[in-house]
């Protein structure tokens, strides 16, 4: 874990204080509360369902996603969207 602390990832979700999180997608850094993280997880889960992914790939091939109660709008291509899904899954995969 300590080895990883020096590495910068393209997508990273970090805890800042008890209820504040920071999401970094490429160069964009966004502050999120926990409910906003949950909301993001829900959106990303929906978008990355098999059916929706296929639909996205066959049409625009990207998604525009509102984050943090519509404070930020991000442009995500499919690989980035899947990375974001993995990052969120990793964060929540601990119960």
């Amino acid at each position: 874990m300590e080895i990883l602390s020096d590495i910068t990832f393209n997508i990273q979700l970090k805890k800042i204080t008890f209820c504040n999180y920071q999401l970094k997608i490429d160069q964009k850094v966004m502050a999120l509360t926990f409910p906003q993280v949950l909301q993001l997880r829900n959106k990303v889960t929906l978008l990355t369902s098999e059916e929706n992914l296929e639909d996205i790939i066959q049409n625009e091939n990207y998604v525009l996603l509102f984050i943090a109660d519509k404070k930020h709008l991000v442009f995500l291509e499919i690989p980035i969207l899947l990375d974001l899904k993995d990052e969120l899954s990793y964060c929540f995969d601990n119960f």
Partner: protein, 168 residues
């Protein structure tokens, strides 16, 4: 980061997702019962209409119970979209049969949540869901008893069968 998430939420996210699916299913059942109540109401089948209006309220009550639990446990409840429900029925018996099938689907979905809660050691959700397991036994039994009445009464007119159904 992982510990941070656990400090915000009591329940597992996998169970939370299934509970949100369950909310959608219960709301769908509520809407479906409302359609059945309307069919009975238009035909003056007073006991059946009262039964289905009450069932509709009950299903909504179940959805709300889960909705509040998920939020209370630190998760995020999702207000569901209610898909199309059929308003066209062939008869009263068919309505009760559909009602039993619907209750069985709800029971199976509750079992799915329960199994997931157990498999991920989400004890809070497991204990919460115990009430639903018991409730579903009661719900299925009520509809089965009504279908037994249909069998006993054979080809009697609808109105007469309706009068012999349990009053709410």
């Amino acid at each position: 980061m992982k510990t941070a998430i656990r400090r915000q939420m009591t329940i597992s996210t996998d169970v939370m997702d299934l509970l949100n699916d369950q909310i959608a299913l219960e709301m769908h059942a509520s809407a479906s019962y409302l359609a059945m109540a309307s069919w009975c109401d238009q035909r003056e089948l007073v006991n059946s209409k009262a039964f289905f209006y009450k069932q509709s309220e009950e299903e909504r009550g179940h959805a709300m119970k889960i909705f509040e639990f998920v939020n209370d446990a630190g998760g995020a409840s999702i207000s569901p979209a209610v898909p199309f429900v059929g308003n066209d029925f062939a008869g009263l018996r068919e309505i009760y049969e559909m009602s039993l099938d619907q209750e069985i689907r709800v029971t199976q979905a509750i079992y799915k949540c329960f199994k997931k809660a157990r498999s991920v050691d989400d004890f809070a959700s497991e204990v919460f869901l115990q009430w639903f397991v018991t409730e579903q036994v009661e719900e299925e039994d009520t509809v089965r008893s009504i279908l037994d009445t249909f069998d006993l009464m054979g080809d009697m007119p609808l109105k007469m069968i309706d009068e012999r159904l349990p009053k709410e």
